[in-house]
């Protein structure tokens, strides 16, 4: 039997009719399947339980976000971006607002920047918590799910107090913030930081040294740094493969250059490394939040932005480090109130492409682990 890693997608399209290939089992996983995190459909080619190749069928959640953007004004489109990666809505909004601000050549005032960073990092923790819970559930540990959801609730409470919404927050406006931080915001955030630190230890106690967890995640879904770059994989997945690259450090946006934090990397690029990287990222996010809360300056929260936004003709590509990877907005303006074209560079979509390579030669159970570890959100994959 040839090594499945060497097969190209074309080989899988036309399997040669040898005796062995006749025994290949084609399994359709999804779009309604408990472990595909939404409506992802994966067509698996199996030899026994060994995955010879797979094809993702996506688009079940396609809502034409990019088309909608062309028919809305810049302000009106702002809430739509929350609906893409709905577990990290704040990050989406940050990317979009900053891209339009760049197009308008304005900058959010420092106070707004700080509050933005706090909320975005809180959202990163929330997103990672949700990922951890569901990923562990996929691998069969049902308890972490409840722990992470319990703690994520505290973040959602802060969001709710801040802007009235919990999931799709619509937290930011182009040019700054609409809402001033509520009274006691800083205390709440500080309380959350000290609350969640031992909780992260608790998750790690359940999983990090658990023998079954190690066996299920070590050397599973391995992807080398070279392959990861070639496949355009970003975010924790790329970092777990040993590439120390984080847009917050490489091409700083917002005011991340003011904060001191580290970029965790892994060596093997396997599922376990991705788990560790995300766990460390949560702690680093807490570090950023701690620094940001200490340093919130006084001042306005909204830059001078015209009521009717008409950015000058031109185009901009701006990207941020969302919890899943590089989230980019490519916006073309024709000088009118509506964007001429908005292209979203979704991290989940590009990362999902690596699933095929990561799963070749693994077992069916690993496919689930790998889908979980990629941390995809179908709302973002399909837009």
């Amino acid at each position: 039997m040839t090594d499945p890693k060497t097969l190209s997608p074309l080989d899988l399209e036309t399997p040669d009719k040898t005796f062995l290939d006749a025994n290949e089992l084609v399994i359709n996983m999804g779009p309604q399947h408990p472990a595909t995190h939404g409506v992802l459909r994966v067509i698996l080619r199996l030899d026994g339980e060994k995955v010879m190749g797979l094809e993702c069928v996506i688009g079940y959640l396609h809502r034409g976000v990019e088309k909608i953007a062309e028919n809305r004004t810049y302000t009106m489109f702002n809430p739509y971006v929350d609906r893409m990666d709905y577990v990290a809505a704040v990050s989406n909004a940050l990317g979009y607002c900053e891209a339009v601000e760049k197009l308008l050549s304005v900058e959010a005032p420092p106070r707004a920047q700080y509050i933005r960073v706090i909320l975005t990092e809180l959202n990163r923790i929330a997103s990672h918590q949700l990922w951890l819970g569901t990923h562990a559930l996929d691998i069969g540990a049902i308890t972490p799910l409840f722990y992470t959801f319990r703690d994520r609730e505290e973040i959602l409470k802060i969001f709710e107090k801040y802007c009235g919404a919990r999931l799709t927050t619509h937290a930011f406006r182009i040019g700054g913030l609409q809402y001033e931080a509520y009274d006691g915001f800083e205390q709440d955030v500080k309380a959350f930081v000290s609350f969640v630190k031992p909780k992260i230890d608790e998750y790690e106690e359940l999983l990090t040294t658990n023998r079954i967890w190690l066996e299920r995640t070590k050397n599973v879904g391995t992807i080398s740094g070279k392959d990861a770059i070639a496949l355009g994989v970003t975010g924790p997945v790329l970092r777990a493969s040993g590439v120390k690259w984080d847009i917050r450090k490489a091409l700083p946006y917002a005011n991340y250059k003011n904060f001191d934090f580290e970029i965790p990397t892994g060596q093997n690029g396997d599922t376990y490394d991705r788990y560790i990287v995300r766990m460390v990222e949560m702690r680093q996010s807490l570090r950023i939040i701690e620094q940001a809360v200490e340093g919130i300056p006084e001042g306005p929260i909204m830059a001078k932005v015209p009521k009717v936004m008409k950015p000058p003709v031109g185009e901009i590509y701006h990207s941020i480090e969302a919890p899943k990877g590089e989230l980019g907005y490519f916006i073309v303006s024709d000088g009118s109130t509506q964007p001429y074209r908005v292209r979203v560079r979704p991290p989940s979509f590009v990362n999902l492409q690596a699933l095929d390579l990561m799963c070749r030669g693994q077992l069916v159970a690993d496919v689930i682990a790998v889908i979980g570890t990629l941390d995809i959100v179908l709302g973002e994959v399909d837009r």
């Binding site: 089992l25 399994i27 359709n28 399947h33 408990p34 472990a35 339980e49 562990a136 559930l137 996929d138 691998i139 069969g140 540990a141 049902i142 308890t143 799910l145 409840f146 722990y147 319990r150 359940l206 999983l207 658990n210 079954i212 967890w213 066996e215 299920r216 077992l363 069916v364 159970a365 690993d366 689930i368």
Partner: protein, 439 residues
């Protein structure tokens, strides 16, 4: 009426199981009692599992149907019975129909030889343990055919996994069982110094005989030839989880991979049969473990705490437990919200507490006390295993299939084989020594 009482009393004073006595009437009574008791145990297990798991996971579990969700399993059972029984179009109807019954039959038949006490078993076979292993291995057939008959990929893969898993873990399980059976006939080196009372006793496969051997040797087999008995028990404890397809070996029904494994296509009544079978199989294998290693119906510390005072203390346990549970319930009644809407719930909970207390008081009556003591200890030990099952489920991630096979064939099997040889060697040490010296 008087004759009847006398008849019952004459039975109660006999020391034979109904099967052994050839008494059809009592055998029927016992069969019914075991069947009903098992069903109640499964229902209680359902509620307890959801509650305990919920409390492990910082949630409340069922709270709506009845006080603290006590009636939830009944509501579930009703729902399952009333649900439409769907047979997929491409399914093999006959096999699809038969499969759950095979599983249930296998799971329940096993209890024919389970000894709840020296006389509290439906019958005592001289191949008891062999019968249990054999019949419980038949449930694989039901699972395999269920998976195949569903005519769908996920059940098929689930069935394949299940059968491979159960067949391979049966080997390790068998080895552990054999080492325990060897212990019935071998001289003991006690963990705590005692033992060796049963020198020259002959080995037996009978479930009751195995417990009696432990009684005669004054030692639970888990402590015998320390640590050999413990290791054997450990192998069995791992294998029995795999055998019953429970977490962390629940691959045949791994929901994140195979939706629900072999019973994906089943619904309603037929699905509930699988559910029933799974839980009674859990109880069955736990019974084997208790019988072989934990002294079956024997109370704790049979050798250290002897004498009539200790007998009395231990015989008070069953009643005291129920009374304690009843008091706990009343404590919770006092904690119920004082709102008119909760009136029915509060009364229901108080009634439940009263029921538990009443059972406890009945169990404190001396005549009853003596007869149920052994049943209580047996059930308590089995209940401990049930708690372990729930605990595993709350804590462990799931093994992958090849890792599961690795654990079975590369770890448990060699260890079991070595254990068997060591146990035999240690048991025959005097003979071996003599043979060597005589040379």
């Amino acid at each position: 009426m008087h004759d009847l009482i006398e008849y019952i009393q004459s039975y109660l004073s006999s020391n034979l199981t109904p099967g052994g006595a050839g008494n059809w009437f009592w055998a029927t009574v016992y069969v019914l009692a075991v069947f009903v008791g098992l069903s109640v145990a499964v229902i209680a297990m359902n509620w307890l599992e959801r509650k305990i798991l919920a409390h492990m996971q910082v949630r409340l579990g069922p709270m709506r149907v009845g006080p603290h969700g006590l009636l939830q399993p009944i509501a579930d059972a009703l729902k399952l019975l009333l649900k439409e029984d769907i047979i997929p179009e491409g399914a093999d109807k006959v096999v699809f129909w038969i499969a759950p019954f095979i599983v249930v039959l296998a799971a329940f038949t096993v209890f024919v030889v389970v000894p709840f006490g020296p006389t509290h078993a439906i019958t005592d076979m001289n191949i008891g343990i062999l019968f249990m292993l054999g019949v419980s291995s038949l449930s694989v057939l039901g699972i395999v055919t269920a998976g195949w008959a569903s005519n769908s990929h996920y059940p098929l893969i689930g069935a394949l996994r299940s059968s491979a898993q159960m067949v391979s873990y049966e080997v390790a399980m068998g080895l552990a069982v054999v080492s325990a059976i060897l212990m019935t006939s071998l001289h003991g080196i006690g963990f705590y110094g005692a033992g060796d009372a049963a020198a020259g006793a002959s080995g037996t496969l009978s479930m009751i005989g195995i417990v009696q051997a432990q009684q005669e040797q004054q030692m639970w087999f888990i402590f015998k030839f320390f640590p050999l008995g413990l290791v054997a028990f450990f192998i069995f404890a791992v294998a029995m989880v795999a055998e019953t397809n429970r977490a962390p070996f629940d691959l045949p029904e791994a929901e994140s991979e195979l939706t629900a494994g072999f019973h994906t296509e089943y619904s309603g009544f037929r699905w509930s049969l699988f559910f029933l079978a799974e839980y009674s199989a859990m109880i069955a294998v736990s019974s084997i473990a208790v019988t072989l290693w934990l002294g079956g119906w024997l109370r704790p510390f049979p050798n250290a705490l002897q004498g009539p005072t200790w007998d009395l203390v231990f015989s008070l346990f069953p009643g005291a437990t129920f009374v304690f549970l009843g008091l706990m319930t009343f404590y919770n009644v006092a904690r119920m919200p004082k709102h008119p809407l909760f009136k029915i719930q509060t009364i229901g909970l108080a009634g439940f507490g009263a029921l538990l207390g009443a059972i406890g008081l009945v169990l404190l009556i001396p005549q009853v006390r003596v007869r149920v003591n052994d049943i209580f200890w047996f059930s308590a030990k089995v209940a401990g295993f049930m708690y372990l099952y729930i605990w595993y489920r709350g804590t462990f991630p799931r093994y992958r299939f090849d890792q599961l096979m690795k654990v079975g064939w590369k770890v448990l099997l060699p260890v079991g084989l070595g254990l068997l040889i060591l146990t035999a060697g240690l048991g025959m040490r005097t003979e071996i020594w003599e043979a060597v010296v005589r040379r």
